[in-house]
């Protein structure tokens, strides 16, 4: 096991820079999730750690070793690919034992290590099968098994669950997390799914357009987003944003509607008011909103409505029998303020 640190890492393809100087330090044994929308550079970053992409500038260290110039096989890492990248002409056993065979590990020991891994992953009955004869979830396990038998310093996961159906994805999520708790190997996990990030990570790195937006624990990011992007990206359903003008201890969001906020900022400035759907309560002393669609999920109810001309979503635990077009009153329990131009958090 090893810590991983990225210092001022940049990546350019030709003259286009896609990763603009990233600093991350991942502690030994930590499960770190890189999350961000497509094209934000998270996979490129992971491939740079793996040695599959060259590092244009900056430094990547695994443990105490700077690995910039090392080839993938010298970095002592294992990677789980999005498409699993299992060797189709090898059995499950051979897939898992391939790296050991290349490393010259004696047959008995290799067999023991594969047996241990397949025991953990529940693959014992499938060792003599070929990847084609396995289901998606089983292939995913083989890909992880291949990583486990190596006993590497670091596990790298490149969107490993995105080819699975929704139900299996939730199950595998738990399995990977349990596996990490058991093996405690430093892991770097790339995903575009913020729920995966929230549920699995010890620490999340939110990336956007080749830059790190914020690094923090899942709940830390949820409770205390540094900027508009993180606030909008983390949390589901996404945070509501209302344009408005600060007026003392309230934000006027239009047509005479003001929402109370706690802030020490000067009056009169333009702000974006952010409020999470779960922090909007139906209350008699709230501001008026018009119901558009009501979606009960059983545990809670999502109410899509128009508030001062803006679409907002509220999630409430109690059951209401609202009709589309009906006017209700919503009261924000917790609000955030952002600068509309820079996106920086104000309060």
């Amino acid at each position: 096991m090893s810590a991983v640190s990225l210092r001022g890492v940049r990546k350019s393809f030709g003259s286009t820079e896609v990763v603009h100087g990233v600093d991350i330090s991942i502690a030994d044994g930590e499960f770190c999730v890189l999350v961000g929308p497509s094209g934000c550079g998270k996979s490129t970053l992971l491939r740079m750690i793996a040695g599959l992409e060259e590092i244009s500038a900056g430094e990547i260290a695994i443990g105490a070793r700077v690995v910039n110039a090392l080839r993938p096989k010298e970095r002592d890492i294992a990677m789980v690919f999005q498409n699993y990248a299992l060797y189709p002409h090898m059995t499950v056993y051979d897939n898992m034992a391939f790296s050991l065979k290349l490393a010259g590990v004696p047959k008995d020991e290799a067999g023991q290590r594969v047996a241990d891994a397949s025991q953990i992953l529940g693959l014992n009955d499938y060792l003599q099968r070929y990847p084609r004869q396995l289901s998606g979830g089983q292939r995913q396990r083989v890909a992880m098994g291949r990583a486990i038998v190596r006993k590497p310093q670091v596990f790298l996961f490149d969107e490993p669950l995105s080819n699975l159906d929704a139900k299996l994805r939730v199950a595998m999520r738990t399995e990977i997390k349990a596996l990490h708790q058991r093996l405690t190997t430093t892991s770097v996990y790339v995903t575009h799914d913020q729920i995966e990030a929230m549920t699995m990570a010890d620490r999340i790195v939110v990336m956007n357009a080749g830059r790190v937006e914020q690094i923090g624990s899942p709940l830390g990011l949820y409770d205390d987003p540094a900027n508009l992007f993180v606030a909008g990206f983390i949390g589901s359903p996404a945070m509501n944003f209302l344009k408005g003008r600060l007026n003392g201890s309230a934000v006027a969001v239009g047509s005479g509607i003001s929402l109370p906020v706690r802030t020490g900022l000067e009056s009169g400035r333009e702000v974006l008011l952010g409020v999470r759907p779960e922090h909007l309560a139906v209350a008699a002393d709230g501001v008026p909103a018009e119901v558009v669609v009501v979606e009960p999920t059983g545990a809670d109810t999502q109410i899509f409505c128009k508030l001062a001309g803006t679409d907002v979503t509220a999630v409430v635990r109690e059951r209401h029998d609202f009709r589309p077009g009906e006017s209700i009153r919503l009261k924000p329990q917790l609000t955030y303020l952002f600068d509309p131009s820079s996106g920086a958090r104000l309060a």
């Binding site: 498409n83 990248a85 060797y87 189709p88 002409h89 391939f98 790296s99 396995l134």
Partner: protein
Amino acid sequence: MSVSRFFDNRNTLGALFLLPAAALLLVFLTYPLGLGTWLGFTNAKIGRAGEWIGLENFQFLFGDAVARLSLFNTLFYTLVASVFKFVLGLWLALLLNKSLPFKAVLRAVVLLPFIVPTALSALAFWWLYDAQFSVLSWTLAKMGLIDSYINFLGDPWLARLSTIAANIWRGVPFVAITLLAGLQTISPSLYEAAALDGATEWQKFWHVTLPMLTPIIAVVMTFSVLFTFTDFQLIYVLTRGGPLNATHLMATLSFQRAILGGALGEGAALATAMVPFLLAAITFSYFGLQRRAWQQGGADK
């Protein structure tokens, strides 16, 4: 039964649609093949219908030194040329699969020998191999490597090797382009996985590329062996089977005996004698081509 009902019947309709193709195959493939095989069992000559003589032609050919030599030549020609075509073709395919500058142009250039009509390229080789005007001999002589010009097509073994070289030149593009297509179906992430697993370039080739390529190698080499075994044009333009029948293949000898010599029965028998070898090659590849376990889907999905 009305006519429209007749045409509504799936079986009737199917048979009708098959008819044109079946007729073409019957007239242009089955009939000549059948006639050729039948002629092999007769003593037909040009201008004289033959009578059934059983295996007499084959018995004669078996005892005929030239026919036996042509069998040896054909096997030698096919074996050596196929091995070289495979090795060179695979090597070229691997090269073209890398990201090279002017990749599209290079790929087109590689295909050229395949596009040029064989008779034309054979003429070019004829010049290259000419006893007096050979540019190869001239170059070697100017470099001071040889004293006298090489008689490429005049010496039996030199002629064999020279015709084989021409055949390799012509056959490599087919192998290379087909294998290149096969290479491009191999997912790049397999190589990345192999790199992380600690494989060297050679190990990647041996453990990933080659096994993944086996099915397509089986197909392309079967075709290559069939084409080479039945080759006619190159030999006919370059040497007409000479010198001293050293380059006569079964196909060229068959033509010489049947058409030029007029012994239709004997020539046909020689051609028919090629069939078992071709069938053997096809059988071999049929088993080589059988879907391997790893290519089959599971019942478990």
